[in-house]
Symmetry: C2
């Protein structure tokens, strides 16, 4: 497919196929917007009904157009789009935007119609945006190639580029952020049904675009989701934050998955894992994009997560503290020297702690804020600084802004202001801050959230840079592939654990018995007590089938239990094929965990970690990462669940062997990648995590094989 996406934004010539003289309608708008906003290339409206539109000669057909346009906009009825795309192909048009609706979004015949478009695009190597989109806007290059209310206004050019799967919402973001929010955009593109260029393709392009500093995206779902980590890391390396909406979070529906891992690993869990792994910042609302965008525009990153606040309002300081601390930041502890300095001029009824409350005394002593700010900036234990100026306005505001600007120029620590004066009341002050790209926010809450976004991004950057030298474990094994090849039914425990063992994950001592006597012999070798479990590809839920007996402590007990579990298995499913009865050591002590693999059709293999059944299933207290998972990532996965204290000695427990647990996660990740064509889902449940130094052991496992097309 064509990858020079820059051509979409700066085409030398555009054919507008289906252009209408009714300039209010969808097909009438694009030509009118291109003309009105000063597009400088050539325009070729195509419509047999008109001789000309807006002074531009109108062509009866695309064939009549005297040159090959670099971009064609298709604005005709869905039923005629395929023919027209074919004509574009024949004419050699390299790039096409299909606006028309009536394809996969309506289901039924629309789906088939859309497939036809895809085939034509491929045949002629056409780069296609859409169908069912609202086009694009290159603000900087004055190419407004789309329709919608937002196109009727002019926008200032900035350095934010956005791609959106929703036209209506995407363009409203551009409009409100650019004009009301003061965060100007460079370009916006809506991708609709994405038969050709995808959201991720455009993000990839924005990373390469030297005039884009900040990337925004609105995503309902990505067909090429497995590229998110690669693209996210690329953006991080380029220093371009990605502000991302991921919507459709409450409508995941139920899957028919065998494993807990797959049940818990719905699309949203995997998107969030991908975002976390790459430092992509999730946003919820338009204001977030404005607030975070303005913060990132300052061009400074904090070296740590310690914030100091200087406030004229105690209350606002508390609000910002709540916001920052609940989002992972820390209140900086001021150095004794700093406190001593502050003591010289902060009023006695103020506060020398952090937040430093200089109080409303600012009205009587204007120098208070900047003297305080300088002292705080000089403190080596402070990574970033918030000034909370309440509603200070007019002349006082201007003087304070002057001091902030002067100090900000001398430091690489990010400084921002929570400043509630209305725009008209502190116009000059705000303009001074804007000119120096010092972010300011109307509420301490918004300022705190923006700082937390910046701080979280900086932390992700440090983490990712540290991980860059970490090689993921790569294992290539053969036995498991042979066992799993062409399997359709769920793989029983004893076979699943053979696969685990091949990749170095410790499993319980066990052996498959074919007869009662065989079972007794195995038990003798392993030593009592033992557990026995009927193994059958037709019985995935052994406990439910009463085909399991635990804690058997003698030959007599084992012999009786052997007959019982086989009888139960028969009663549960008379047709079940029985591989044998697994005789297994009983584990003592340790904490029950669950590890798993969800090999998602879109994302590829992901690894899950959680604590024993109830924590994972009921509390959904689990963590996911897309494979490969390095050792430090595995440690993050372990530490981020709420139940983590249970592994570190809470409630009088022994400290668990977290090293061995992390090692098992890394090995499972290597298995997930090596067997990605063979394993659809995998659960290790439970994995016993023993006390420190004593390792982990898989006590049960289940594999649902990946069934190849044709099976």
């Amino acid at each position: 497919m064509r990858s020079d996406l820059e051509r979409f934004f700066n085409p030398k010539s555009i054919a507008i196929i289906g252009a209408s003289k009714d300039l209010v309608t969808i097909s009438g708008q694009p030509l009118s917007h291109l003309v009105n906003h000063g597009y400088s290339g050539k325009l070729y409206p195509v419509n047999p009904r008109y001789p000309d539109i807006l002074g531009h000669k109108c062509y009866a057909s695309l064939a009549d157009v005297p040159e090959t346009p670099e971009l064609a906009l298709i604005l005709i009825n869905a039923s005629r789009v395929a023919d027209m795309l074919e004509q574009c192909g024949k004419k050699g048009v390299p790039y096409v935007i299909i606006f028309s609706s009536g394809f996969s979004e309506m289901g039924g015949e629309g789906v088939a119609l859309q497939q036809r478009l895809g085939a034509i695009a491929e045949k002629y190597n056409i780069g296609v945006i859409g169908p069912n989109c609202q086009g694009l806007m290159n603000v900087a290059g004055k190419c407004y190639a789309g329709f919608g209310s937002v196109f009727f206004s002019d926008y200032p050019a900035g350095r934010v580029s956005m791609v959106s799967q929703s036209g209506g919402f995407g363009f409203s973001v551009l409009s409100l952020a650019s004009l009301d929010g003061g965060l100007a955009f460079r370009q916006m593109v809506t991708t609709g049904n994405e038969i050709g260029v995808s959201t991720l393709d455009f993000i990839d392009y924005f990373i390469r675009d030297p005039h884009t500093d900040i990337i925004a995206g609105y995503l309902e779902g990505a067909k090429d989701a497995r590229r998110i980590t690669e693209i996210g890391l690329k953006a991080m390396a380029a220093g371009k934050p990605i502000l991302m909406w991921k919507v459709g979070n409450t409508d995941e529906g139920q899957k028919a998955a065998a494993s807990h891992t797959a049940n818990l690993g719905g699309a949203m869990a995997l998107y969030q894992a991908a975002f976390k792994q790459t430092g992509i910042i999730q946003v919820e609302d338009i204001q977030d994009v404005v607030d975070y965008g303005r913060m990132f525009r300052c061009g400074k990153l904090p070296k740590g997560n310690r914030i100091a606040m200087i406030t004229v309002s105690g209350g606002a300081g508390i609000l910002m503290t709540d916001e920052c601390v609940s989002r992972g930041m820390q209140l900086a502890k001021l150095a004794p020297e700093t406190v001593a300095k502050l003591k010289e001029f902060v009023p006695s009824f103020g506060s020398l702690g952090n937040p430093v409350d200089v109080t409303a005394a600012i009205f009587n002593d204007l120098a208070l804020i900047n003297r305080t700010l300088q002292a705080i900036v000089d403190d080596p234990g402070v990574d970033c600084i918030a000034l909370i100026n309440a509603s200070l306005q007019g002349e006082i505001a201007t003087k304070i802004a002057h001091e902030i600007v002067a100090i900000a120029k001398t430091t690489d620590k990010p400084i921002a202001a929570a400043w509630s004066a209305r725009d008209v009341m502190a116009k000059e002050a705000y303009a001074m801050l804007d000119a120096e790209r010092i972010p300011h926010y109307k509420s301490p809450v918004r300022c705190g959230r923006a700082f937390a976004a910046l701080s979280g991004y900086a932390e992700a950057k440090r983490r990712i840079e540290a991980q860059r030298n970490e090689r993921p474990l790569v294992l290539q094994k053969t036995q498991s592939k042979e066992i799993l090849n062409n399997r359709v039914a769920d793989v029983a425990e004893y076979e699943a654990k053979k696969a685990l063992a091949e990749y170095g994950i410790a499993v319980t001592q066990e052996e498959l018995a074919a007869t009662r006597e065989h079972a007794l012999a195995i038990a003798k070798r392993i030593g009592y007590p033992v557990a026995i479990k009927v193994q059958s590809p037709d019985i995935s839920h052994k406990t439910e089938a009463k085909a399991v007996k635990l804690g058997l402590s003698s030959d007599a007990e084992l012999a009786a239990a052997y007959d019982e579990v086989l009888a139960n298995a028969k009663a549960y499913n008379a047709k079940a094929h029985i591989d044998g009865v697994l005789v297994q050591e009983m584990l003592r002590g340790g904490t029950e965990a669950i590890l798993g693999i969800a090999n998602d059709p879109l994302f590829g293999p992901a690894v899950m970690f959680g604590l024993g059944g109830i924590f994972a299933e009921i509390m959904k207290d689990v963590s996911f990462r897309l494979a490969p998972v390095t050792l430090s990532m595995a440690r993050e996965m372990i530490a981020e669940i709420k139940g983590y204290p249970l592994l570190t000695g809470a409630r009088g427990r022994a400290h668990a062997d977290i090293d061995a647990l992390a090692d098992a996660i890394v090995k499972l990740s290597a298995l997930a990648i090596d067997l990605k064509d063979h394993v659809a889902e995998l659960d290790i449940n439970p994995l016993f995590v023993m006390e420190r130094g004593k390792g982990v052991k898989a006590a049960d496992a289940l594999i649902r094989p990946k069934v190849k097309a044709g099976n």
Copy 2:
């Protein structure tokens, strides 16, 4: 104390003590603001340094003022405030606002100084606001009695009244909400250190104020916190929503509590319980007050939580759905008749589900939105309706607004719009909606949140109205009071359980043994297996002391264990007084829960429910209610924890006896109230919840007695 708080807002005359001619300073501002905003009463500046200020005669002392002013503003140095308050008292001034800082907020001598103020106020029966506050603003009555940047502007009068413990933040809310947000305020008062009138006093007054419809509050902490439920329910009965900031959430610190209940029941948990019980709506930011306030101003409440959306942008519909569903609303299921109607005019590539997507086709067919809206309004399964108009603007916007207004007038279902056009682009449309108090929001996210706030409030109202006929259980017992009277040390299990039993909560069958032979005799009566536990007021953590043995199944085992636990107890604490050894039945099956009482110094007794140890302690999955707890409230407590499915049959468990559990909570609530002077903390941990029909049983309990002052 004086309770006619209306006088603060509408005083007939005001003395401004410490008034300054420097009108920019704190002491110079109030007179200037009162004059400039058209205060119509009499003004008496008091300051020996000036003959007059702003044309008002200035008095050398308060004694010189020719009448008794109804309100005095004190703007002098902290050290002189007490004397001046005394002078106010002697002159008979009924109401005083103390602006001066330098009291309890600075600790040390400031605390003593503040206590003196309190004593003087009481002596003379003066109603006091402050100290350390920024005054108040009665916008409607043009009484701007305070200082700060915000006072330099004029505000429109509305029907929102707010009280704030933070002056700087509170007034920034008024300024931004009134002028930028379009939500006009009636009055704002800042309370500072609250030696006299409290935040809750003012909320109580706003409930009685016939010109206030919506109440807002900013609260750091309430010394009279136990009044929150009473005042919250009063506001609910009056139909006045309370929008409340509760800040200081991340700085709770650690308490030295004996029980899990007290450890988990930090201030924030109790505030949140109080808010939940009374329908008080928590807000996070200024925009929330504006958004929710505009929604409540529509004057309509939905009858249920089912929302329908009509959108021109599929993406915006998904965003609003995420927001509403994650906040407890449901997407209405449209009736087949409604869908049939819609089918007549919604384009085939649109969507007839909910959200109904009429698509960008609206540009070509303007009638689409209002025909759709009428059909949705007529659907009996829809409780409220959102229109998502993306950035529609100009003439189209005006026409659509016209239709919305016409339909909204005919229905009592709340209708609101997510409408992203900038103000200048849809001026006429927005004005039409505003005139009819139809809320509109710049983003679907904000619209969704506001709907969720309205829906949550309506749901709380229905719940509270249903609970109004429910009498809380009242029990008055004597034996427990006798046992607990004058106790200082923690009360051991066997005594704590006697208290539980007196209030009708089932406990394990058990008896205290004084000797080994006694223990054997008790075990015979109870039947093996039994547990034994050393009882001592000096050993609260019996397991830690190894003073517990479980599952003893014979006389021999019991005899050996008896000696062992006593030896262990001695080894643990040689000086411990031993009451005896408790011999107790062993419970089998059931789910372990925890019930408890935290008798908070500010809130009074609160009841907690959670599941077994780890869930409560590590996952903090617990629910709180302030006592008294009725049966339906107890059921809410049970159902709201995340682990609830464990009680309703998850993971193949038996359905637990939730009726008995709720009954135990109600009885514990009755105990909490009857023993509120005796019990500081109480844990029942574990409480075994047996399967349906088999009841609950307390297996262990701990009481930390309330130590009376002087003990």
